[in-house]
Symmetry: C2
Subunit: 325 residues, 2 copies
Amino acid sequence: MTSIAMIEAAAARLAPVVRRTPLLTSDWLDEIAGRRVFVKAECLQHTGSFKFRGAWSCISALEPEVRARGVLAFSSGNHAQGVARAARLFGVPAVIIMPRDAPKLKIDNTRALGAEVVLYDRATESREEIGAALSAERNLTLVRPYDDAQVIAGQGTTGLEIAEQAAEAGVAAADVLVCCGGGGLTSGIAVALADRAPGLRVRPCEPEGFDDMTRSLAAGNRLANPSLTGSVCDAILTPIPGEITFPLLSRHCGPGIAVSDDQALAAVALAWSRLKLVLEPGGAVALAAALFHGEKLQGEAVIAVASGGNVDAAVFQRALAHAPN
Amino acid sequence: MTSIAMIEAAAARLAPVVRRTPLLTSDWLDEIAGRRVFVKAECLQHTGSFKFRGAWSCISALEPEVRARGVLAFSSGNHAQGVARAARLFGVPAVIIMPRDAPKLKIDNTRALGAEVVLYDRATESREEIGAALSAERNLTLVRPYDDAQVIAGQGTTGLEIAEQAAEAGVAAADVLVCCGGGGLTSGIAVALADRAPGLRVRPCEPEGFDDMTRSLAAGNRLANPSLTGSVCDAILTPIPGEITFPLLSRHCGPGIAVSDDQALAAVALAWSRLKLVLEPGGAVALAAALFHGEKLQGEAVIAVASGGNVDAAVFQRALAHAPN
């Protein structure tokens, strides 16, 4: 179980390679939200999302001889790039298993980061079987996207930074809104803030119709999403809360908030026009909750984690249609 | 004449209100450029460009009773927003004179920042006459966009940050590329670096066909642009190098670099995809020079100042057509 000590240790391992991302503000966003809005710009992290933190934390915690054999991940998105870059910095092999129909740009980007990409057919093949066979053959270590104590510890380093930056900004009490898929980032930040800034309460934010964490927290046990497709917020569509992340969220987090795709796209447009940040829709759901669900929030300030910015041009152009003019 | 002491004093006045913008990197950009590329993300500054620094420096240097009567500026763009926000923070009136055919969004944004916008007809009225009449009537102080020692000192605070951040990154020698219109930002950074980091050489970057500073530096005297329209880099189209800025550039800067509109748009697209930053074309010419004019640069590293991100959706969509896919 991830503890504050594990997060501190992860922060020490990350220090030479991570980017301390800024906490940004905008008069315009304050006016829309009716309170002070702080945006943790984790889209400016290496590889364009927070995932590099968890990947580095996990890989750096391996025994050197284990690490040297290489790592394996299943991902077509941000986790793939985070793992690939962390492995490359360590000079160890990374094998990323991606569906054959993943966007060409994501496949190219992952290969360009030095990873070996193994493609599989979603309809006829099992990525777990392919991964298990490769692991056995090459002794690769699986880096899970969220349900791993060291991955959660790495994401939690974002929370250490938020605690420091909120204190610098004079914010002692606020809701901290986090884009939530499997819950790795949300649980890591929650563990960090429970220790460092107990006045900051973490709340998971999800797309409407894919709010498994929100419903699970309300029910007190893990509930699955009925579907895994159909939202523009693809980066955070996961089947069910993690076995490790859910108990951490249950202990530390306030109720979840669900936002519509249109609200996520409007938040992408506002981040573009008012913060000069590029967000993907799944990385903008927390900002959307801050701006458009104020009635569910408490306090005079809100902190929204902008978790990623890996978006393709077609989706971004859709978002720009929501821009002020 | 702006000195390092004036820049230090401006930095002290700016400290409570300015954002220290990050110096960002990307493996992808390094690969394109064939050297390490550092991007000073001044688009993340308040109001979306460096202009807030100079405006605050100038207004904060006024005698309180002079400042209280209010300030005046001619601008339809970044300078207008910088002056408006600085005046509002001081609680003093700001009058911004803008052409009647300026984009509605820019007029609205400037008004929303609390300024009084006075519109004039470019064809039949003189903004100088309107400004002189208003100044006389209300005793307003004109805040010039670049040819003012305190404005230059404010922009120069960007250079103090670059010196510190380059040292932290282990870069002692590099070309520092700066998007150049009238030369306020370029000259300010050059004065700061000449004192703090003499291994960092400033070079002005301009749009092709509007490279008055580049030609003036080569000729040794101030030469005008033949035209003031016809580039997508509208933020940095100015008639002729400043009377105050030009001698500073002559003393401190290396030769200028001109980039095409297509190169500026491609740099906007790469900042979007690889840095998750929103740049306007005029704010991307330095990055374009870093990426596409490497043969004119010296050293294993280059620092490009991304000076602004106030771009409308139509131009941004044009830039996205240059994105990798």
